[in-house]
Symmetry: C4
Subunit: 238 residues, 4 copies
């Protein structure tokens, strides 16, 4: 059975998300964003191996949850596509995944600190960030989630949370839509900087669990506002 | 009785202020700036619910002090329009209000530190910043000033000061003109960064109350200089 | 006796310097740069009261050392022109003066810390920065050097050094040419950030007095390199 | 015997590397990048004395390992060309050298701290950074590596590592290709900022030696991805 073609609007949205993530400083030459296939929950859409800022519609490939590209036709694929496949397998609610090395988040992963919501924009951090140390599951590696087994371990560590820190590597944020995953990756980065600064200033009063949950619910109704801005700023993706 | 149309120059100035606040890093996809209606002190002008960087003249709506939009015609309005209405009600001297999540200010609000004037540009901080913790007045919320009662509590907390920090959220700066409110929001952000750095370096000698008052008075005579620069930098708003 | 017209190349260079200082982050909407008049050592050239980024050739006015503009024709002048006049009076070797609120330098002034050369680019800091506290000479003021007497006090405090920090205000750098003064203002700002970071990391090994003097002498032979870059980057000033 | 002309593609790549290093914040008006001559291992290619951001193909000169320019024709050469020559002499595996004052690295050199790999992107730091203090070998100098003897001392200090910090000056990174040297200079800068932040947050878990080596090996297979991005971003170099 052949996989039906994905909705062209979704393919475009993923290409757009790549450009946005570069513009807002979440990814540099590395990092990637995927979405679950709209016609098949056991497939996802992800660019071929390339810098996010350069991704076009035609660079988006289809993968099964084991990380096999169906239409690569010889193009190189990301070494860490297993991050995406295994999270989609473990979390039926997840429709989009952003993997990045966003800079302010890294220091938290290497010092085993938890991201906590400093302000309402990061209410999605109410349950805190998870922390994945690849050394715990696989000893000395090249730090990459380069197999299904490692992807599954990462997904297990993420659990029901919105973001998992990856020690000595970066982080992975998830969402119920491309917009939400991008929003979370961005505000996790912003929150990390604020949290670092606040800790240097004194005792930090984080959002309570209730405040975080309520703020997150409200912010989810405002995603279109910031997406419209970001979309306009990147201009044409052709 | 119908509300007379606001001065087109004021409407344009508010649209311009939205663009400026984005360019100078006070707002991102969120935040808003209003001005009291020039024909009716019991009304104010504020954009519809949208990213500040995209606001045009025609996006500016009129509201009464209870936060009811008179000409929304189905457009979405900001959830926190009550910040503006209640401050205009409480402070006859205030002609413009900027609400933002400007990043360097946030750590002060969550650690209960007061912004104090590090340099003459922020003489308006001479009385210090107020601190509003929504939890004190309403328990666990979504952190937003989403009702007249919350807006009134915020305005009471602001008192006669120029800026009120909002714990876990952001801040709100006020002014006697759009230019002054934007100036204060900007230099509060700059001052916050300087104050943080100075505290890490050693014992800080802030401006005395007298110095702050005198510096603020002088700086108010220089607002046109920086406004002209900012206005030119954003270019056309059409 | 009439003051002869200044060399048009010098007038252009001052306009260019204004633009450069804005682009490299030394000034924002405030701050100014002057040069001693090439035909009369008892006069100097400085823009009218305006944002540095917008200065054109025709905005450059001539002043005597008391701060009187000779050709203002009703244009507003800077409140702090006395900084320039009194330094030119006190320091025959100074040909250009930059006054700014460059951000990383401010925390040093308010904590009474001395700028010291972290790297060879700031060898001109070998004698350290001077520190001027206007409160010591004039009590509670608006913080501005708004008279000849205050300017003279600032110049006396500067002494033979390259830069004087002004508590709660900013700093003033001097040079033997416009290029050198701009270079010093820029690398004082860079050095301040490096010095702050280094102090947080550990015990700092600054350049020795000898190293600083030798490095400064060498760097002065390389000023044209960075000036050429900066000049190209700002493009046309018309 | 005349030196054969270098591969035009290599000459272009060096010009491109100069522009890239400026765009990504590794160099400012100062700093330089060279490559070993592809036709003669005892020669290297380096721009004439100028700001890296302005370098064109025709500005690339040929030098012997003693730092003598073969085709300068009166053009000024960099005072520190000996850094390049002596490293090429000492390290047969090195094909490209980047010397910079990249800002976040400087505080490490002046506090005698070692750069260590915070994340996989900087696996090349697995052996740590070397630290060269010119004062130890030559007493009070102008801090510049301005002779063959100083260059040889620097190369000896670098040893088999990827980068050497230069106290009170900057750093020098090496690579097996222009792409790799630029990558290392960039991620050393990024790593320095992360390492500084992480140290302020708590006890840092760096990559183990094995992790660093494996990560470095993998990243070397991905250099083309980020180079393609950087190349596109600088646009035409003519």
């Amino acid at each position: 059975m052949t996989l039906p073609a994905a909705d062209p609007a979704l393919v475009e949205k993923i290409a757009v998300a790549n450009r946005i993530l570069y513009r807002i400083g979440v990814v540099d030459g590395f990092g990637h964003v995927s979405a679950r296939h709209d016609k098949s929950p056991s497939h996802f859409l992800l660019a071929r191996n390339m810098a996010p800022a350069l991704v076009k519609r035609e660079d988006i490939l289809s993968y099964d949850l084991d990380g096999n590209a169906l239409d690569a036709e010889g193009k190189r694929v990301y070494l860490e596509r297993f991050i995406h496949g295994e999270i989609y397998r473990a979390r039926a609610d997840v429709q989009a995944v952003v993997h990045s090395h966003s800079p302010n988040v890294i220091p938290f992963g290497v010092t085993a600190q938890t991201l906590q919501p400093v302000f309402h924009m990061s209410g999605f951090l109410g349950e805190g960030s998870a922390l994945f140390d690849i050394r715990d599951v696989a000893g000395d590696t090249n730090m990459l989630v380069s197999s299904g087994a490692l992807g599954a371990a990462l997904a297990a560590c993420l659990g029901p949370r919105s973001i998992v820190l990856m020690r000595g590597h970066g982080s992975t944020a998830v969402g119920g839509s491309v917009e939400q995953a991008v929003y979370r990756a961005y505000y996790a980065e912003i929150n990390a900087r604020l949290q670092m600064q606040a800790k240097l200033l004194g005792e930090v009063k984080y959002l309570s669990a209730q405040e975080a949950a309520k703020a997150a619910a409200t912010n989810d109704t405002q995603l279109a506002r910031v997406w419209e801005l970001w979309r306009q700023e990147i201009g044409s993706i052709d």
